[in-house]
Symmetry: C2
Subunit: 180 residues, 2 copies
């Protein structure tokens, strides 16, 4: 699936694995993320499958850049994937909930601390979506050929915002019940 994230970005414009990581961190990390090493490995595989092509741009004083661009075959594959509807609900994994589920023998004080830590982490995340991510999207949508993309980027950002608000609400509710 990372495959399609990379093809999606390369469909905008050619760039390096390093650039792709920056873009993902700034825009899709809310719903899709990857480590730098995985991005490099996946790009290599995409090139083998001829969905992307690369060339090296020599640089002085800095490491050379390997710039990837999407091929016609890559565009078709991406288009194909985009047009297929998602037919399932994505399963979640939430360590904190797993812990909480088995926490009946822990002290309530310890659990409350856990929850308060999560609350502040999710508050930070929420603020990031509301400020930083929002700005990044606004900047990119400013250019004319990217304006149409802005609507969709904003929809995904909004999801992150709603998610974090929901999470904080759930923590507050749970803390309240435990304090009774």
């Amino acid at each position: 699936m990372l495959k399609y994230a990379l093809l999606g970005f390369l469909n905008y414009t050619p760039m390096t694995g390093y650039d792709l990581k920056q873009f993902m961190d700034a825009s899709t990390s809310n719903f899709w993320h990857a480590k730098q090493s995985q991005i490099y490995a996946t790009l290599k595989k995409l090139e083998q499958d001829e969905l992307v092509r690369s060339h090296v741009e020599p640089q002085e004083g800095r490491p050379d850049r390997r710039v990837y661009q999407i091929t016609e075959k890559g565009r078709e594959d991406l288009q194909d994937w985009l047009s297929q509807p998602v037919m399932d609900v994505e399963p979640r994994k939430e360590k904190l909930l797993l812990k909480l589920f088995f926490s009946a023998d822990q002290s309530v004080e310890k659990i409350l601390t856990q929850l308060r830590i999560q609350r502040s982490l999710h508050e930070e995340t929420l603020e990031r979506y509301q400020n930083q991510t929002k700005e990044v999207i606004a900047q990119f949508s400013a250019s004319e050929d990217m304006a149409e993309h802005g609507r969709y980027w904003e929809a995904t950002r909004r999801f992150g915002e709603l998610y974090e608000e929901m999470y904080i609400r759930w923590v507050d509710e749970t803390i309240e019940k435990l304090e009774e």
Copy 2:
């Protein structure tokens, strides 16, 4: 991490890999899930590490059962994990959002169809949390020695409920904006 889900359940009572799968599907699938094959593989590893022990119970007409029970070492490991606070925000992966992010060139009609499919899938999931999962928890909490656990199980179920409500709200909001 599946490791701790299995230890957590085995800390209630000894059971087979098959039983563990049933329990997880009925209770933790909202925030932690695993395939049957992964459960068997993980149990094998847990036994090698002496965190669980197993014995075979012969059966007639049905395959023999391999019943696992947690060891003292396993209990300590679980306890240790439970007492450590979670210090990060769990990253999500949402295929639909990834698709939506890159969908500016798709027809609005196609995207709306995508969103409507997701809406109905998440509505089903929400209802499951509100009815089936709620009942399962009520049943298990009925026995005296499990009553205290019920509070925590309910908190995790509530998370699923809030999540699905949020998701549906987001879909509705997004559909509305696209229809403008």
